[in-house]
Every structure is written in structure tokens, then in C-alpha cells.
């Protein structure tokens, strides 16, 4: 069946546009094939006139250094990129088809708006924040399952309700109460050491994007003083812990002199505190002011890093005087944008995602490594472990089995649950471990390891785990059963797995493979396997 109508399929796929050339019209199939010798499914030749201030600032650097930027990405590439970057989720075949067929004027902008309101937006970014805040029930953070899940839920709800970022941080820093009922207090529990200096280091890393172990000792001690009056106490409820402002704590004469330092902000200004005033409030006031030199830059740079794959200051949690800012004007613009939006992070997402800079193709025209630092093309990155697990399950319709080392009722996770919405770093699967999910030990961005390894390749190419997903996939079975014409099966598998139509070359390869006396079912399984193992599936691009 697959063999008979492949020829029809070629015409059909080209007729659907996109794959052959974004400018090809369904009525001129032959012309399109004749005039576009090497159609790229990945880019378009659209003009690169700056669309917005981001583009102006980025393109100015191209001019200054003679960098030739990449072309703009095609609709199909943009679609997949936006879904993966914004909601950590693949488009469904229907979503892909609708977007590719849409002839509206600003369909990319409209897609961005839709993605920003999806529940998966909160799922994906709650997962990211749970990495940075170390939301983990067990070793070495030891939040306990119920507290980890309450904390995750609080983060999720904060993102879903578009809580302004400055308020989000303030609520974390000034939290008091029960780890179960006032989940933000878990900020002060989710660290291996809970002495004032370690807390100050965690605050500096998370919200100032800086590694305070490189600071002068006195600076860190001055900041630690703001966190020296935090009390922890147990209650009669199993594993409940109350975190609270404890004004008597200094009177208890901490033996470590470092923590007896006077409270001084990291910029060197001394703070005035009254005895009954929680110093964390004073610190939060200082930190979240728009004029604070660290706060807004750190988050603006982080958001840029998350979307573009490289910080304007890189790495995004290693901001210091001798770590270069590749495009200071750009960072300044993003900060202003965020301040004007009253710290609504979605606005920052919006302006970045709508820029041509973000929408450049991944195919570099300038081979110099320095060009990467100026964002001359989109950086190819392997999918995050959780996103990859979900993508595999989404295209195959198969479940995942999750376990936790603590067999508490809270840690049993239904198989249908997506990995990006796991509420606790102690709940996982061997797949997530293998693909470099962060252990949530330190909150460093670099904990997430997306470098490909040979054992990951082995797993994807040849493990029973992945083989079973493909062989037993109800979705692939459905396609095999219901494809009336064999070309349909190929087109559907491409839309399902790669969110685009096959190119003529790909049609030829499938035709050749299916002629070699292989059964239709095997062709479909081999095709699904090959597409899942292709770089296009495994990498953001």
C-alpha cells in the first residue's frame, strides 16, 4: 500500500506548500519544484530589516563586526521552536497543519500570544524555577514530598497568574509560616546549609545572578546579616516545619563571628534596622528596586539565555565585573522593557519572541565562534531531558513510569503525567537521569547537562524502552490502519513527529526504503524510528 501511491504523495506533499518553499503556491507545484533547486524546510529568504529595538541593537553589532546573520527561519521551524522554547511541548499535528496553512498577516505573533496563555507555559517554567530553587523532597535538599509539592504548586500558580517577578521574589524572601501551608517558606529550607552565609549565597545566585563565593568575605558577611534572624521549628504534625522571623536569634549569640557582622547591602551601603523589623524585608526592598544594579539585569539576562541559548552575559548566573556583556545596550533595553511592564516576565518573552533576532535560522553563515555571542543565528540545543521524554510520549501516545525513593502517597505519579509537570526533583525515571535532568543540588543553570553522550544515543537508537514506545504506539498503529493512500502515512508521520511535511528528497528516501521488500508496517515503524532519531526531533533548532 505504501509503495503504490508514493508518487502521488510527492505531489501531495509539495502541494501542501511549506516543505518545498514557503513561497510556493499550491497551483504551481511544478514551477516550485523547477525553480527552487534545493528547497530548505528550515529557512526563508525574507528580508532582514530590523523589526523592533532588539533587532536594531543586535544588527548593529553584526554591522560593527561584519557578521553575516543567518536567514530567517521558515514557518515550520519557527512553529516547532516557539512551542519547545515557550511551553516545552511539541505542537500536535493538527496545530502544525493549521499554522502552516494559515495565511494570516501576523500568524507568528498570534501564535506567541496563544502559547503565553497555555497551561503548559506554567508547567514548563515552574519546572525551570524548581531547578533554580531546588525543589526536591530528598537528598541532599530534603524538603520532604508534601512540602516539595506545596512549593511547586505555589510556583506554578505564581507563573500561571502572571505574578510580577519582583513580587514573586519578595514573597519568597519575606516568607513566614508552615512548609505545608505557606509554601514560599520552603525557599529557606531548600538548601543544604541553612546558616546565614549559605542563605545569602543562595539569594545572590538565584536573584542577583552572581556567585558570591568570589566576593570579598566582608561583603558576603554583610549580606548574611540580613538572614541571621530566621528561626526554624518543628510542630506536632509529621514533617511540618515553621520558618519565621526570630528577633531573639542574635541574642542567642551565634558563636560564628562572621554572622555577627552588621547588615550591609552588597553595594556597600549600610542598612539601618530596628530591633523588631524583619531584616529580610529591608533586604527585599533594596533588592527589588528598579535601580538595583543586579536584580533586573539578572532576570532579563536569564530570560534571554533561556530563549536564545546564550546569555548576553554568559553564564547567566555568573555575572561579575570581569565577565563581559556582549551587547550592553541590548541588556539595558530589556531591563527597561521589564521595568516598564512592572516586571511582567511575559512581556519580556513577547518582545524577544517577536524579534527577527529570535526568529533567525539555526544555519550559521558566519563560522567564527565569536559570532555565536552576538546571536548571529539560533543556537541548536538538545531537548531538555523532561521535554524529550514528553515529546517521545506525545508522538507515540505511550506512558512513562515514574518513581521516587520515598514511597509516600504524595510521590505516586500517574503514568500519563508529563515530565515537565513533575512536582518534585526526587520523582523521576531512568530516562530523565540518563538525559541530564538537573539533580537540583545547587541551583546553578549548568546543572542541566544537555551534552549528548553515547549512552543516550544507545538508548534512543536501540533500547527496549524506546523500541517499545514505537512498536506499541497506538498513534503509529492508527496511522498504519487508517492511511487510505500510502502517502498519507508518510505525511502524517512527518506532521506527528517533525511538525512539517516531508521534502521531495525525503519522499525519495522513503520510497527507496519501502521498495526493498520491507512490509508496510515495518516501513512505518522504521520511518517513525528514523524521525525520532533525527537531529530535527532531538534538538531545538
Amino acid at each position: 500500500m505504501m509503495n503504490i501511491l508514493l508518487a502521488v504523495g510527492v505531489v501531495f506533499a509539495v502541494a501542501l506548500g511549506e516543505a518545498a518553499s514557503p513561497t510556493a503556491r499550491p497551483t504551481s507545484v511544478r514551477t516550485a519544484l523547477a525553480t527552487v533547486p534545493k528547497p530548505s524546510p528550515f529557512e526563508t529568504q525574507a528580508d532582514l530589516t530590523p523589526r523592533c529595538p532588539i533587532d536594531q541593537l543586535v544588527f548593529a553589532k553584526f554591522k560593527q563586526f561584519g557578521i553575516q546573520p543567518a536567514n530567517l527561519s521558515s514557518d515550520a521551524t519557527f512553529l516547532r521552536r516557539a512551542y519547545l522554547d515557550v511551553i516545552g511541548t511539541l505542537p500536535t499535528p493538527r496545530e502544525a497543519r493549521e499554522f502552516l496553512n494559515n495565511k494570516g498577516p501576523d500568524k507568528r505573533g498570534a501564535l506567541i500570544e496563544r502559547l503565553l496563555t497555555r497551561d503548559e507555559f506554567a508547567d514548563y517554567w515552574a519546572n525551570k524555577w524548581s531547578d533554580l530553587l531546588r525543589v526536591k523532597a530528598e537528598f541532599p535538599i530534603n524538603l520532604w514530598p508534601r512540602a516539595a509539592q506545596a512549593y511547586h504548586q505555589w510556583i506554578w500558580a505564581s507563573i500561571k497568574s502572571a505574578k510580577p517577578y519582583d513580587r514573586f521574589v519578595r514573597e519568597l524572601l519575606t516568607a513566614n509560616g508552615s512548609n505545608f501551608r505557606d509554601p514560599a517558606v520552603n525557599f529557606y529550607r531548600a538548601m543544604q546549609n541553612k546558616d546565614p552565609q549559605s542563605i545569602a549565597q543562595a539569594v545572590a545566585l538565584t536573584f542577583m545572578g552572581t556567585r558570591s563565593d568570589k566576593w570579598p568575605k566582608e561583603t558576603l558577611a554583610g549580606m548574611a546579616a540580613f538572614f541571621s534572624q530566621i528561626g526554624y521549628k518543628e510542630t506536632s504534625e509529621w514533617k511540618e516545619e515553621i520558618v519565621f522571623f526570630d528577633p531573639d536569634r542574635i541574642a542567642a549569640k551565634n558563636t560564628n563571628v562572621v554572622f555577627q557582622a552588621a547588615p550591609v547591602f552588597p553595594d556597600g551601603t549600610a542598612a539601618k534596622l530596628s530591633a523588631d523589623h524583619d531584616p529580610r524585608e529591608v533586604f527585599a526592598d533594596w533588592l527589588t528596586k528598579p535601580t538595583n544594579p543586579w536584580f533586573t539585569r539578572a532576570i532579563a539576562n536569564r530570560v534571554w539565555f533561556w530563549l536564545l541559548g546564550r546569555g548576553i552575559i554568559h553564564e547567566p548566573d555568573d555575572i561579575r565585573a570581569d565577565n563581559p556583556t556582549t551587547n550592553p545596550e541590548l541588556l539595558e533595553y530589556l531591563c527597561q522593557e521589564l521595568i516598564n511592564a512592572h516586571y511582567d516576565l511575559k512581556q519580556l518573552f513577547r518582545v524577544i519572541l517577536n524579534s527577527k533576532t529570535y526568529q533567525l535560522s539555526f544555519i550559521a553563515k558566519d563560522a567564527r565562534p565569536e559570532a555565536d555571542a552576538f546571536f548571529s543565528h539560533y543556537l541548536i540545543r538538545r531537548l531538555d531531558a523532561e521535554v524529550l521524554a514528553d515529546a517521545l510520549n506525545q508522538v507515540t501516545g505511550m506512558p512513562e513510569h515514574y518513581t521516587s525513593a520515598i514511597p509516600e502517597p504524595f510521590t505516586f505519579i500517574p503514568e500519563k503525567q508529563r515530565s515537565i509537570s513533575l512536582p518534585d526533583g526526587s520523582i523521576g525515571s531512568p530516562f530523565l537521569e540518563l538525559f541530564g535532568r538537573p539533580p537540583r543540588d545547587t541551583g546553578l543553570e549548568s546543572e542541566r547537562n544537555n551534552r549528548p553522550t553515547a549512552d543516550q544515543r544507545l538508548h534512543l537508537l536501540n533500547s527496549s524502552h524506546v523500541q517499545k514506545k514505537i512498536e506499541e504506539s497506538p498513534k503509529i498503529q492508527y496511522i498504519i490502519r487508517n492511511a487510505k493512500r500510502s502517502g498519507d502515512a508518510v505525511t502524517w508521520l512527518y506532521l506527528l513527529i517533525l511538525s512539517r511535511h516531508p521534502t521531495p528528497e525525503e519522499w525519495q528516501a522513503v520510497t527507496a526504503h519501502s521498495k526493498a521488500g520491507v512490509k508496510d508496517h515495518e516501513v512505518a515503524v522504521d520511518l517513525a524510528w528514523a524521525l525520532i532519531n533525527s537531529a530535527e526531533f532531538l534538538y531545538r533548532h
Partner: protein
């Protein structure tokens, strides 16, 4: 392309110094053909120590007694401590070494005692599984911001691809599941995690995840691979992207294992039936056999994660030990003999240990019904081969096995001794992600208790 002005900013120079550049990534990818995990490890050789001691051992087989078996019911029986202590095991048996007696259910190991040393005075005082597992395998106290790498990750750093290993098999392999309770690689990052085989060596066919696929012929593998190459359109569009080069390399090496000879090491049907029977036809026994085959191929570190049935005997300790000890006895005793027969014992350290021991005083009451709890104050470990002297006993516990009586041995003492036998300098620096000072083994300034290296048995 226009002529390009050069990048001259001073920060760009710094960037060049700090970052892995595209060119470098390309070079790394090109160099990587020699070994499976090699590409990731280049550049770390700077961390290899200049003053490394001379290596006597090449490999380690770690038998990880997950859950913490009772020292009183294995290497340190206390028949004189009373029924509440020895419980069901009143009659320890003599070994072929004077003065060392072991549990009556370990007759085969009793005959191998000249090959191993028993440490009766392991101690760390921690009674929680995960913290104790971490401590025993990293030699570090929990706390601080860092999570340290386990011994396996450290050995694969120094003895793996940057230490001269050139095999296709990964340098750190765990049979059959990772421990999961702590990140074995610690701050070294996930590329130092062990390769976990999955599958069951005790089954008809040991289906090592990713290497041995069921129902796919070599021809179909090859056809599929060609098909994938034709359809890898993105890779063809950006062939010189560093990510794509790295992907190429990992794929090539994965196929070397799938289709090449290296993966055949997991085929146990090539071993004599008689030998397989001696190891025991069960997951643990056959894991011991696989471990021998792996070190024979030069793999530096193999962990047998002995989880099945669990040694965490809170309830009905004695029934569990009756079921499990004969299996353990057979597997480990045969492993020692087999390694010795093949001349591998001199270059292979066998390290048998759990995260702690168990309460010497039996908990007879319900719900434990003759159970033993966690006990970190004193417990036993066994080491053999690779430069460790056999037929020795280190230290002693007190009359009831509750405390160390003589010569405390802390995890850092044991791990440090192993590293030295492997030729690893304990004072060398580990590559820390933010450049902090982290030595291979904690020193006295690290606030870790030390009893001194095990010079008496090397």
C-alpha cells in the same frame, strides 16, 4: 561574504580563553574516534596529578550491599554476646585464616579468606540510607553547597579516557540499575554517571539496554542506520554545527557497540556452563561473572548494585539472611577464585560494603519480629585484590558489635587507600564547576574524621 574585521575587544580575548570555542569543539569531535566517551573527557587531563602514586590496581569491582547488611550476620559474628545479639546464627565457621570466623552461611567465602581482608571497624555514625550511602561512596559529609562524586565517578575521571583507557565499553558501568538515591557523578556532572546496563544477567539472554536489542537483526540495524542518515535533513543543513559534530561522534560510537565486537562481552553463553553454575544462576551471581568479563576488558570501575531482596532487614532479618547469604557467598567466592585463576586479582580491587551495619541487638518485638535497624557506629567491609593483602583483619568492634573497639576506619581512609592503589593522587584537584578547591579525598582541614590510610593491608 565580506571581509570581516577582527574582534578586538578585550573581553573577547577573555571569552576565547574561557569558552569552548566552535573550533575547539570541532577539534574535540575529530579527535574523539578513539573511544566511546572520550570526546567529553579531553581537556580534563590537566587534572591528572603530577605526583600520582604508582598504580598497582587497574580496576575496581564494587559490590554495593544496598540497604546495609548486618555486620554480626556476615563478617563479624558475636556468638558470645548472647541470644539477643547473635539471634539465629550462633555457630560461625572458621576460615582458612587463623582468627577470622564468618557466618555459617558463608562456607565458600570462608575458603577464600586468604584472598581478602576484612575491616571490622568501619564507622561514620550516620543511620540514614541516603546520607550514609553518600558518605561511604564519596568520603564526604553531607552539607555545604557541593555534592561530591562517588568513587566510581572519580575513578572514571582519572582512570577513564583521560587516564589512558581506550576501550569502547564505558569506563564506569553499573549492574544493573543506578543507585538513584544520590547523583553518583556529583558536581562532575552527568557525563560521569555510570552506564547502567538494565536487563538481567540471570535471564536467558542479558539484554543490555541499548546494546542488545531483541528482535532486530544486524541487517535491519544496518538498513535503519542508512535510512536515518538519508532522512537526517537538519544535520545535512548544518553539518559543521558543533552540536551536530558531537551527535555524529556519539552515534558512530553507539553503533560500534551495537554492531561491533565490544558489546559481545555481555553475551554469557560463551562462558562454560560449569563456571556459570558456580557463580550461581541468578541475577547477582551472573552479575559477578559479567563484572569479571568487564574488568578483563579493562573497564576501570564496575558496580554491582546488589539490590534484589534488599539487605535492609528491619523485619525478619534472619529469614532474609538465610535466603540471601548463600547467593552472596557463591557469587563473591567464585568471583575471587575466578579472578585469581585468570591472574586478574592482582590488578582488580574487589570492594564489598553497604552504607552501614545493623543494630547488634535484635528487635524481637512486633512489628519487627526479629529485625535489625540501621547502625552506622560500627560495621564491616571486605576488600581484596589490587594490592590489598589477603588473610588480614583490620580493627575490631566491641564484644557486642556496638562500637569500634580498635582502629576506627572512616570511609575516607578506605577510599583513599583504594585510590592510591589505583595510582590516583588523593591530594589532586577535582574539576569543580565554579572552580572551587575540591580535592580527591578530604584532608584533615575538611572537617572529616580520619583514622589513617590502611597501610597495614597494602
Amino acid at each position: 561574504m565580506k571581509t570581516q574585521p577582527s574582534f578586538t575587544n578585550k573581553w573577547l580575548d577573555r571569552m576565547r580563553e574561557n569558552a569552548i570555542t566552535r573550533r575547539e569543539a570541532v577539534q574535540r569531535a575529530m579527535l574523539g574516534a578513539a573511544g566511546l566517551w572520550l570526546g567529553d573527557h579531553l581537556g580534563l587531563s590537566a587534572f591528572a596529578a603530577p605526583q600520582a602514586p604508582k598504580a598497582r590496581a587497574r580496576s575496581v569491582i564494587q559490590i554495593w550491599m544496598w540497604g546495609g547488611p548486618a555486620h554480626l550476620d556476615t563478617w563479624d559474628p558475636k556468638p558470645d554476646a548472647g541470644y539477643d545479639y547473635y539471634g539465629a546464627f550462633k555457630t560461625p565457621i572458621a576460615t582458612n585464616v587463623d582468627g577470622l570466623r564468618v557466618n555459617e552461611l558463608m562456607p565458600l567465602l570462608a575458603k577464600q579468606a586468604d584472598k581478602y581482608a576484612v575491616i571490622h571497624s568501619m564507622t561514620h555514625g550516620v543511620n540514614a540510607h541516603e546520607t550514609a550511602s553518600y558518605l561511604v561512596q564519596t568520603a564526604r559529609q553531607q552539607g555545604g553547597r557541593d555534592v561530591y562524586p562517588s568513587a566510581g565517578a572519580v575513578v572514571s575521571l582519572f582512570k577513564g579516557y583521560s587516564g589512558g583507557y581506550r576501550g569502547l565499553l564505558p569506563p564506569y558501568i553499573v549492574l544493573t540499575e543506578p543507585q538513584g538515591r544520590f547523583s553518583e557523578a556529583g558536581f562532575l556532572g552527568s557525563r560521569f554517571k555510570p552506564f547502567s546496563t538494565g536487563g538481567d544477567p540471570g535471564a536467558q539472554r542479558f539484554a543490555v539496554e541499548g546494546i542488545v536489542a531483541s528482535g532486530i537483526s544486524d541487517k535491519r540495524q544496518q538498513d535503519r542506520r542508512n535510512f536515518l542518515h538519508q532522512l537526517n535533513t537538519l544535520k545535512h543543513a548544518a553539518p559543521n554545527d558543533p552540536q551536530m559534530l558531537a551527535a555524529d561522534q556519539t552515534e558512530k560510537q553507539a553503533y560500534d557497540l551495537i554492531l561491533g565486537d565490544a558489546g559481545k562481552v555481555f553475551d554469557l553463553s560463551t562462558e562454560k556452563n560449569e563456571l556459570r553454575d558456580r557463580y550461581g544462576r541468578n541475577t547477582f551471581g551472573q552479575s559477578c561473572l559479567v563484572a569479571r568479563k568487564l574488568v578483563e576488558r579493562g573497564v576501570p570501575y564496575v558496580t554491582i548494585n546488589y539490590k534484589s531482596g534488599t539487605w535492609d532487614t528491619h523485619k525478619q532479618n534472619f529469614q532474609t539472611m538465610r535466603r540471601r547469604l548463600p547467593e552472596m557467598d557463591k557469587g563473591v567466592a567464585t568471583l575471587l577464585q575466578d579472578l585469581a585463576d585468570r591472574g586478574l586479582l592482582d590488578s582488580t580491587i574487589v570492594w564489598w560494603c553497604g552504607e552501614f551495619g545493623r543494630t547488634p541487638k535484635v528487635q524481637w518485638e512486633a512489628p519487627w519480629n526479629g529485625g535489625r535497624g540501621h547502625w552506622g557506629n560500627v560495621f564491616s567491609a571486605m576488600v581484596a585484590g589490587g594490592g590489598f593483602k589477603g588473610g588480614r583483619v583490620v580493627g575490631a568492634s566491641d564484644a557486642k558489635g556496638e562500637e569500634v573497639k580498635d582502629r576506627p576506619v572512616h570511609p575516607a581512609d578506605l577510599i583513599g587507600t583504594m585510590y592510591e592503589l589505583l595510582g590516583i593522587d588523593c591530594k589532586a584537584r577535582l574539576p569543580h564547576p565554579t572552580g572551587e578547591l575540591a580535592t580527591v579525598v578530604p584532608t584533615s582541614s575538611d572537617d572529616v574524621k580520619l583514622g589513617g590510610r590502611l597501610t597495614e593491608i597494602v
